[in-house]
Assembly symmetry: C2
Homo-oligomer: 149 residues x 2
């Protein structure tokens, strides 16, 4: 199996297949006489594991750890689980941040009439003197002047 076929079989781009090998995430593929990389079914299986882990948002270092555990018959499932739950917490943290951004933006967009007039609460909020948006700390509309970079 050449690298192009391996790419189709795994869903990993040719570029990334070479990259994963280069950084040592997977062992270097065997080479044909021509210098072409040759992939076995086992290689493909490993690479699919890698792709699935990536699809779940794991970083390369974490995938390396998962691969180790996967290939180590004497692993403890607790190790895998702690890796996974730590990752879940990171993802949840990111989701919380996204949620906050979305909530703020939706609030602002909702209050923006969105017509031809220049008046816009979105820009007003971004340009406001105080950091906190929609806080009671806000004095009565401290209109910022139009600044120059």
């Amino acid at each position: 199996m050449n690298i192009g076929e391996a790419s189709k079989a795994t869903g990993i781009s040719v570029k990334m297949l070479r990259y994963y090998e280069e950084i040592g995430l997977v062992r270097p593929a065997l080479r044909a006489y021509s210098g072409y990389r040759v992939y076995s079914d086992k290689n493909i299986e490993t690479l699919r594991f890698v792709r699935r882990a990536r699809d779940l948002g794991f970083q390369v270092k974490q995938i390396a750890a998962l691969l180790d555990l996967w290939q180590n018959g004497s692993r403890a499932s607790a190790d895998v689980k702690s890796l996974a739950t730590a990752h879940v917490q990171e993802l949840e943290q990111r989701r919380r941040e996204l949620d906050e951004m979305i909530a703020t933006l939706e609030h602002l967009a909702h209050h923006c009439h969105g017509d031809h007039r220049p008046d816009c609460p979105i820009l007003q909020s971004l340009g406001a003197e105080e950091t906190a948006p929609q806080k009671s700390t806000r004095k009565k509309a401290p209109r910022p002047t139009f600044a120059v970079a």
Copy 2:
């Protein structure tokens, strides 16, 4: 105001202040005789705008567009709104992806006993032959062999 004070005043690191200038997001700061950058209150105001936009997850290019609109008195609020809502949709897309990852991982982790034994559904799912996790397409436990990279 020197760059260090500007950094404290805006919450943008010194490194990033220089970077934003370099890439043309903000106009180059004036220079003192010594070569030190000098920031005016207006500069600070602009930079705070930038930081708030960044806090809302806007990319630098989008922030440039927002700055343009902010500084352009004849803008239409519709332009700002469409920029904001497009951004919201992107954030929501990312959140959906996160949600999916989290759901899958939590499901898997929940089914992993997490003890000293090696048996672990997380690894089994990552190593499964079929792409789709927990699908009815799954034949009865096609246990993958332990692959070699």
